[in-house]
Symmetry: C2
Subunit: 385 residues, 2 copies
């Protein structure tokens, strides 16, 4: 099999970009990645995006972005897997390289959420759930996550304060990230005093509505040598992706992210590693409860003990299991279709030793991107070459 | 390289399915294809869909459909390339098989358009064009195609009647297709007397708003032997895909579909064939003008002479270049994200000798699927094994 490596990464800062369009953000991130890789053309483009049709009334993002980035008459499509669109787009880009049909592939994740009214945006995010079984009956996407958080607290005896540790950790790290939306540390009290958006989820348990774009350039190890030194190459050593029931009513077990479990096992096997070999984790903390469940489902914490890692500081940058090293979804921000690509960019920075919040000498990183309430999850294992 | 073959196809009739949901149509088409292939599980699912977020307020179609089809915890994503989403999804499914990461892949194209008000639907289709440069200024998607048709008629001296021949041919063939939305032949006068929807495009120059789903099962030739006889296998011998400028203002030449030209050349090269070797063509006649331009851009007709093939009857089922053998977008219908998969299903039926409107003993078929006003085009070459 051809060995896929990432040779360039780029992004724009996450934020409320009132004066920048989706296409401009995507093109900027893409050109940054191409410059980083030293390539001036690519064979194809994959765009990770969840809901541009709803947010900005624009589809056909493949053509839009490839056209305005000046990439010529190449193949270009959009990949959608709800909030896991970015992670899925990276994996599709890797597959394209592995297929032998394409040599150098660009992936850009982008979402422009702030052009919509927040109430409309909340509705659009609900399209990640089962609209006919959930959204149309009044359950917002936050409300569905709130049900899971409530159950988690009840089942294991945790408090809202316990889960708040994930948000605090995210902000500590995000404060060091020039690309983060929220660049200052917060205290536990900040989280606890913030208003409920869907009880027991508070504003500071949740990631923000925002705009952003991030990009990576993927090729084979063989071809990579034409463009960059070995120090700049990061191998995509393992990939897994799985779905679960799209609505919660049909799910047998709400406190295990089965899709994450299946995806992680597949990714570990492909990379020939175990969970304990991984040096850092960019997981999907759209809500603090999702951070806890993610750690438990990918084999880092035992069932019901994800929160303990947060309380004990093991998820901190100098802990045994550093997560969200540049702020995660909570602090860096969560421009939904772009998030999985931001995670990849940040993991690459770590593995190259270029991160503004560096984990000491990491070899292996994991990225985990969740779509829906755990219904579509991607896991990728990145490794230093 | 691994040789990709299609071993199963399925569909639901195109129409106004007021009492059937998107998920139900997609699941039915998918299960039909799986039954045809004799497989009871697949390794992953690709969903071709343009605008489910807008039409039915639902994203995350990969999880939705894989879940309700009972496919288990497999990878599943949506592929979007405007009206070429179906064609692109088939190609991504093929790439997945060629990557070696997956053995048996399902592709389903689906669109549910009739749940939206027609005026809203017209707007959603405009998202395939450049919303900020075209749609928001009042140019509907039909209007953009009308500009091209007007220019074509002026440049080459054709009349509206000349282009109407494409619609007549489509309906003659569609009348024999049990899956077609419009099952009766029409006359030239029918087209000419139909009202303008955007001068010079009349109602009968255009494909309808409708609902539908179609599916294919793809694997390697090696693996295919476990499931079906050779007679049921159809090779995906060549693939090409390319973008062009998304808005017409930036396009240098409006009367050549450059993306089709680039994609066709690539597909022919991969398949080791020339245009003249192809026995039938399922092209993208969303409007009659697009049928003419398509024939000219893929090397079947000279520039400005696509219409002649229609007038001379060469595009008929017994002509030298049979197109739209089961009605094309005009008569079978154009559930946008499903269309490219319907084209594939129909080409497979032809190559297996199972079509209800059979071309005599064909060896090679071409499918061509257009997104936007020619901004995102896929071409696939299918060949009897």
């Amino acid at each position: 099999m051809r060995k896929p490596v990432i040779i360039g990464v780029g992004a724009v800062p996450v934020g409320e970009h009132w004066r920048t369009s989706l296409r401009d953000m995507a093109v900027e991130a893409l050109l940054n990645a191409m410059e980083d890789a030293g390539v001036d053309k690519v064979d194809s483009l994959y765009v990770g995006n969840m809901a541009s049709g709803s947010f900005i009334e624009q589809e056909n993002l493949g053509a839009l972005i490839a056209d305005f980035a000046g990439l010529g008459n190449i193949p270009a499509v959009k990949i959608e897997a709800a909030c896991a669109s970015g992670g899925a787009a990276v994996q599709e880009g890797v597959k394209a390289v592995m297929s032998g049909l394409e040599e150098v592939v660009a992936v850009v994740g982008v979402e422009k959420m702030t052009d919509a009214w927040p109430s409309d945006g909340t509705r659009y995010l609900g399209y990640a759930a089962d609209s006919e079984y959930e959204l149309f009956h009044g359950a917002s996407f936050v409300a569905l996550n709130a049900l899971i958080m409530r159950l988690y607290m009840k089942e294991y005896g945790y408090t809202e304060e316990d889960l708040a540790h994930f948000a605090v950790n995210a902000h500590i790290n995000g404060a060091k990230n020039p690309y983060a939306m929220f660049k200052r540390p917060i205290k536990l009290e900040t989280v606890l005093r913030s208003p409920y958006i869907s009880d027991p989820i508070k504003l500071f348990d949740a990631s923000p509505m925002c705009d952003g774009a991030a990009a990576v350039i993927i090729t084979t190890e063989e071809k990579a040598k034409e463009f960059v030194d070995k120090a700049k190459m990061v191998e995509v050593a393992g990939m897994g992706r799985a779905i679960d029931t799209i609505n919660l009513a049909n799910r047998k077990e709400l406190l295990t992210l089965k899709a994450a479990k299946v995806a992680a096992e597949k990714a570990y096997k492909m990379a020939g590693i175990e969970a304990k070999d991984i040096d850092l984790f960019e997981i999907h903390d759209a809500f603090t409860i999702m951070a806890a469940l993610s750690l438990e489902s990918i084999g880092i914490a035992k069932r019901g003990e994800g929160v303990k890692l947060a309380k004990e500081g093991q998820i901190a940058i100098d802990g045994d299991y550093p997560i969200q090293t540049l702020g995660g979804l909570k602090s860096r921000g969560h421009p939904v279709g772009a998030t999985g690509v931001y995670q990849t960019v940040e993991a690459v920075w770590q593995l190259r030793g270029e991160s503004p919040n560096q984990v000491p000498d990491p070899e292996i990183a994991l990225t985990q991107n969740i779509g829906g309430t755990g219904s579509n999850i991607t896991i990728s294992i990145l490794r230093r070459v």
